[in-house]
Amino acid sequence: MWDPKAGFGQRMDVGPRAQEAWFFCLRLLGGRYAFEAALVTEVVRLGPLTRLPAAPAFLTGVFTHRGEVLPVLDIAQLCGQGSIPLRPSTRAAIVHCGPWKVAVVSEAVEGLITVPRRALETPPAESTGVAEFLSGVAQDRLGAVAILDMPRLVEAARARAIPAGASA
């Protein structure tokens, strides 16, 4: 059961035998995208971004949060579908995926959602854009939600980083 006092990173009953799966939902690319809730440690308002030279487009910059410098990942850029507009009100979810800690920027943060496991369906068989990183699709009371395989997405971003000067 989700305990709001314990924060986003708490271990929840999300095992395969649990009746419901917990996800963290963001609005991206005009749609609802969710991923495993336990990967999110907090949601922050983006501070002023410092852009990094020779960085791939999806790595939009870094910012400091409580004295720690965090990289910002733009999923829209990674998928070649434009970019998330950055405004003072823009928020990001801080995500831990294995050795990587990134701030995933979003158009809006919806927060935690639950989806009955029996409602999870396999994603469409597309291999372009963000569809490449989907592990499932589902419906909840607010409508359709696409489930992202966030660790695979972050690892793919790292692997796709273009060496500096290759595009110059």
């Binding site: 990094l52 030279p53 910012f63 790292r158 060496p163 500096a164 000067g165």
Partner: protein
């Protein structure tokens, strides 16, 4: 960012940097623990972005009109300057090159602890050795540039004369 106490701080005296002083230093002489290792950095602007680099990598700083045209690097991985005001002269193997910048903002002495490595994900995504880390000044991270590597990578870009074949 603290303003420079004197424009003369930007100049070199007899090939050595005059001691950088900043407004406010007089009121807070013990800003740093004297035992803590420090690094001297130069802050400069290219386009809209501000960068930092170790002063030890800088041979001299001059106005562009006083530098040899063939030594100027007008555009690099840092971007292109709006105006061609200043050149930061750096020694590269067998020569000197001048990175053209919009302005040299000043010099600062920072604790070495303020110079941080890139976050792991950023380090894994950026394959240029010119970005050696970040300097956190006033809670803002600033790219810390290895100037000799920046200019060496620029010289080695495909299509440039003398560039090594991949």
């Amino acid at each position: 960012m603290r303003p420079l106490a004197d424009r003369a701080d930007l100049e070199w005296e007899g090939g050595r940097l005059s001691a950088p002083r900043f407004l406010g230093d007089e009121e807070d002489p013990a800003r740093h623990d004297e035992r803590a290792p420090v690094a001297e950095i130069v802050l400069f602007q290219v386009g809209t972005h501000v960068f930092a680099a170790p002063v030890r990598d800088v041979v001299r700083i001059g106005t562009v009109r006083d530098l040899a045209a063939e030594d100027l690097v007008l555009e690099s991985a840092l971007g292109a300057p709006f105006t061609h005001q200043r050149g930061i002269v750096v020694a590269v193997p067998g020569a000197e090159r001048a990175l053209v910048v919009d302005q040299v903002i000043g010099f600062r002495t920072v604790l070495e602890a303020d110079v941080q490595p890139l976050p792991a994900f950023a380090a894994a995504c950026i394959h240029s050795g010119a970005l050696s880390g970040l300097v956190v000044l006033d809670d803002m991270p600033m790219p810390f540039i290895d100037l000799p590597t920046l200019l060496a990578e620029h010289a080695a870009r495909p299509g440039r004369a003398g560039a090594a074949a991949p």
